[in-house]
Symmetry: C2
Subunit: 143 residues, 2 copies
């Protein structure tokens, strides 16, 4: 095998970048049905779990900064899925809370993970190996 380090096929980062985009693309038709983008979907996933959070905590969880989250959260607010309110105890914090409509959306989203799994052609063991390696890269070692 060619070992030229500047060849696209010899890069590890490139298939990571490409696979990420390709998988997100597979979500698109499923997410269109519930009116979310992929980034909005993962944001809602945190809120389905946490019910409420401030912007920084959301960003740490999602690896996103306020420049991405602020407009995204405004769009989710416009859709009626979340509310945004300054915390009275510390006015620097904006508390994002899920609404009833947002909670209800979880039911419509329930089928998505399984539907998606069927379009990714890897075995459960491979998925687990991949999962661990990706979290290792993220520096968060999961099991």
């Amino acid at each position: 095998m060619d070992t030229n380090p500047l060849k696209l096929e010899n890069q590890l980062c490139f298939p990571l970048y490409a696979a990420s985009k390709e998988v997100v693309k597979k979500y698109k038709p499923l997410l269109d049905d519930i009116g979310l983008t992929y980034t909005q979907y993962v944001t809602m996933m945190v809120l389905w779990e946490e019910k409420s959070s401030n912007v920084t905590a959301l960003g740490e969880r999602l690896f996103l900064d306020s420049g991405t989250l602020t407009p995204l959260l405004k769009r989710l607010e416009t859709s009626g899925l979340v509310t945004r309110k300054r915390e009275s105890a510390d006015e620097r914090n904006v508390i994002i809370s899920i609404t009833d409509k947002g909670l209800k959306l979880k039911e419509k989203a329930a089928c998505i993970p399984m539907k998606l799994a069927t379009c990714i052609d890897i075995t459960p063991e491979e998925a687990k190996t991949l999962y661990k390696l990706l979290y290792k890269i993220l520096g968060q070692e999961k099991n």
Copy 2:
């Protein structure tokens, strides 16, 4: 382990999406030195290898469409790294060719893969496993 399929930590796609972004972020300071974005860098990588190509072929290689590539290639043209010219035999094709300046940039980029490898904390075997799994997801089985 919690098996709720809508929990962020139980998703395979999320660490893929997050790790891709985090690794691209690690490239930033290295690529800033040579004045390229990550997407421009991988595009140049194809051109360092192929010398010239049309937009569609570049897009297939990079998993990008004309909506992304057209403005990106115009910026590379403005930087003097590539030229864009309609093919006379078939005016539908725009031939992207690397310039001398573009070729020269390869020398300055030569150190990047090694520098980057030192910031990703995985073993060579893990990297190989990851590489194969990612190309499996991309549907292109590599060795």
